[in-house]
């Protein structure tokens, strides 16, 4: 048995994930389950709570300097909300933070979401193991890019 892959960067800091709910969406079952699974897997998890604007979420991500932003949207407003989130992240020079999305997402919307820059879309039924692994990889990738600080300078 190999030990599970590490959820800490090379400097020993835990990967930090922001789990976010935006807009009026009150469906929090999935977000809480995922937040907990990530935490139990060793991530530092910050959960925003409900009814945040995309702009607030972007600010929180920047202020807390997270490695991954995980958004949960089930209310069908994902195209609108994600567009605003990605715009604000760009404005803040934070579009190097990988963003993933889970929830009620019709498959036809996956394309446009990826075009916006969303790195992964998790449909209902995705296993926690898969989520943990993909989020971990994105965090790892981002940490290794951090050395040069290219994005902040750009």
């Amino acid at each position: 048995m190999s030990s599970p892959p590490s959820t800490r960067g090379p400097e020993g800091r835990r990967y930090k994930v922001l789990v976010a709910k935006m807009g009026l969406d009150g469906h929090d079952r999935g977000a809480k389950v995922v937040a907990r699974a990530l935490r139990d897997a060793g991530f530092e998890v910050i959960y925003t709570g409900l009814r945040q604007t995309p702009e607030q979420v972007a600010m929180a991500a920047v202020q807390e300097d997270v490695d991954v932003i995980g958004v949960s949207i089930l209310n069908g407003a994902h195209l609108h909300l994600m567009r605003r989130l990605m715009r604000k992240l760009e404005e803040l020079g934070a579009d190097d933070i990988p963003v993933v999305l889970g929830g009620t997402i019709p498959v036809i919307d996956i394309e446009p979401l990826k075009k916006m820059g969303v790195r992964e879309v998790f449909l209902p039924g995705t296993s926690l193991a898969e989520i943990i692994e993909k989020v971990r990889r994105l965090a790892e990738e981002k940490r290794s890019r951090e050395e040069g600080l290219a994005k902040v300078e750009g």
Binding site: L24, G49, N75, P106, G125
Partner: protein
């Protein structure tokens, strides 16, 4: 006051007990039981091991979704001291385990009530008419999120949300359009609305008045269940105390003015869908009900005046027998609570009348057509459990609000159960099954324990403020997810017979509508309404509402007047928010 939780096993020692409790009568004869016990022992020791050797069982332990361990088989031994009259009685009789009516579906089938609404009032008006045309027997409105939290479509928080998850209603004008061509004296309408329930009920009553329908003919339900907002549905607005106060205002006003209205639908559905087990759903829902009854009594109302108007709403999940047992236990428990805790006299006060919805959360995008089958099984459980009203989910549930095509299949599912299967021809057909009766008792017992815990915290309002049910539910939701992960629970197409066929998902014809156009239309209309109303009457109505709220009066008459003066939902809720404050959820997980 004695509490039903206090009895030890079946020897009922409840105060105010009638002849039934004086002598507990076991169903089975002592000697007969001994004979069965002997045979059972032999079977267990000789026959079963043989079989196990040849054919090991699929799992080490079988449990219901609530985690209740199940035996291989149930026999009279599991109902040893079981008293038929005390546990079941007859349909229409206390404790109503077998049903609230003597004749049940032989006389009247359950109401087929499909939760519907999307876009603007025009789209929803068309959908309602479509469903009525296809045999739906009651209406049920789904509102969009801006409406659910009581803001206008041009509020910045509503941007991008209008009309997606239900119909947008911003003023009386929208409600008029929804019911164009539908006589409110002839239909009953359920409205899934909570903090703004006084506003929506007022719009509805105002439309009825305009149609010339007298108050005593207005029928339907406002969900108006504030506690489960904090627990599960998360469309809360006001802090818990104020939320309960406002909801009780509606109940009190409705009981006095709208004799056919169900002012509250005490909802386990959302609790369950948020992650609760069947036992938790049952316990938390009844505990909510208990809190409301206390609140209403504290207002000086007589139990028998309001109790007949209380209604309930449960989930029908996929674990078939557990669901049926849950419904039966619910009826028995509520009857005891009303009779023994609160001294209700009227039978109707003891009735647990309930609407059921099949479990949305059991439906998945993978191989979406299978959802039709799941829904059918769940609907069957609801019928065998004796529901008064039923919504069946559409197979496109994991994607978007239902298309006409999918909604029709869901409705047809109910009609097939009602008219083809024959399950509606005998009352409580599973009554007397050793297993079902044992499971009903077991669920009841476990639910009482949770209710006792809540009582010790000072009731559900206090428990909710402490976050107790919220945490328990998050815990259960996580446990379930882990069990899926570990292969202890299965969802076909998801973690067994896994399907990664995204093309199949693509084939699902989804409901299409131009959301942006609808949002613009709703914004335009609310602006028109604001510009064209009688400003004087409107201002006075809102001022009066504010003053009434500040004085702590029942707000309903003032909300009704504001509604008639074409005050928007955002304006009315805005006044109430200023007086009562708003709730911020502590984000625990």
């Amino acid at each position: 006051m004695k509490r039903p939780g206090d009895y030890d096993s079946l020897w009922v020692v409840i105060g105010g007990c009638d002849w039934r409790c004086k002598v507990a009568v076991a169903l089975f004869d002592e000697r007969e039981l001994e004979r069965i016990a002997k045979a059972y022992k032999e079977w267990e020791e000789k026959v079963v091991p043989e079989w196990l050797k040849r054919m090991p069982e699929r799992m080490e332990e079988f449990t219901t979704l609530s985690g209740i361990p199940l035996k291989r088989v149930y026999t009279p031994l599991d109902l040893k001291d079981w008293d038929y009259m005390e546990k079941l009685g007859f349909p229409g009789d206390y404790p109503f385990t077998r049903g609230i009516h003597a004749t049940m579906y032989r006389a009247k089938l359950w109401t087929m009530r499909m939760f519907s609404g999307y876009g603007g009032p025009e789209e929803t008006n068309r959908r309602l008419k479509f469903l009525i045309e296809h045999g739906e027997t009651g209406l049920s409105l789904a509102f969009d999120e801006p409406t659910l939290v009581g803001i206008d479509p041009d509020d910045p928080m509503a941007e991008g949300h209008v009309g997606i998850e239900g119909v947008n209603v911003a003023s009386l004008r929208d409600m008029e359009i929804i019911f164009e061509g539908i006589n409110l004296g002839e239909v009953t309408t359920n409205m899934t609305i909570n903090p703004p329930a006084p506003v929506l009920l007022s719009y509805y009553v105002a439309v009825a008045e305009k149609q010339g329908v007298p108050y005593h003919k207005i029928g339907g339900t406002t969900q108006n269940d504030p506690l489960k907002e904090f627990i599960a549905q998360k469309t809360y607005v006001f802090p818990p105390e104020a939320a309960v106060k406002i909801a009780m205002d509606l109940v009190e006003w409705s009981v006095k003015n709208l004799p056919k209205w169900n002012p509250i639908s005490i909802s386990g559905y959302h609790i369950r869908e948020a992650g609760a087990t069947a036992v938790q759903e049952l316990a938390f829902t009844l505990a909510d009900g208990i809190e409301y009854v206390r609140q209403l009594i504290a207002r000086g109302m007589d139990v028998d005046e309001f109790a007949p108007r209380l209604s309930f709403f449960f989930d029908a999940h996929i674990n078939f027998f557990e669901e049926i047992a849950k419904f039966r236990a619910a009826r028995r428990m509520w009857a005891k609570i009303m009779k023994d805790w609160f001294g209700a006299k009227k039978k109707r006060s003891m009735w647990l009348r309930f609407h059921t919805q099949t479990a949305g959360v059991s439906l998945v995008p993978q191989e979406p057509w299978n959802n039709i089958v799941r829904t059918a099984i769940e609907a069957l459980a609801a019928v065998l459990g004796g529901t008064q009203s039923l919504h069946t989910n559409s197979f496109d549930e994991p994607f978007r609000v239902p298309s006409e095509f999918a909604a029709k299949i869901a409705l047809r599912t109910q009609q097939i159960i009602a008219y083809e299967t024959g399950v509606a021809d005998v009352v409580d057909p599973l009554g007397g099954s050793y297993f079902i009766e044992w499971l009903t008792d077991e669920i009841e017992e476990r639910a009482w324990r949770i209710i006792e815990r809540i009582e010790s915290m000072g009731g559900m309002l206090e428990a909710v403020k402490k976050g107790y049910p919220q945490r328990e539910i998050a815990e259960s939701a996580y446990r379930f997810q882990k069990e899926l992960e570990e292969g202890k629970r299965f969802i076909v197409g998801v973690n067994i017979f896994r399907s990664d066929d995204i093309e199949e998902i693509r084939k699902v014809p989804l409901l299409e509508f131009d959301q942006e156009e609808i949002e613009e239309r709703q914004k335009r209309r609310v602006k028109e309404v604001r510009a064209s109303r009688n400003q004087e009457r409107w201002r006075r109505a809102l001022d009066n509402l504010r003053r009434a709220a500040e004085r702590g009066e029942n707000i309903m008459p003032y909300v009704l007047e504001a509604a008639k003066a074409y005050a928007t939902i955002g304006e009315i809720m805005g006044v109430l928010k200023e007086v009562y404050g708003v709730y911020v959820e502590p984000p625990e997980y």
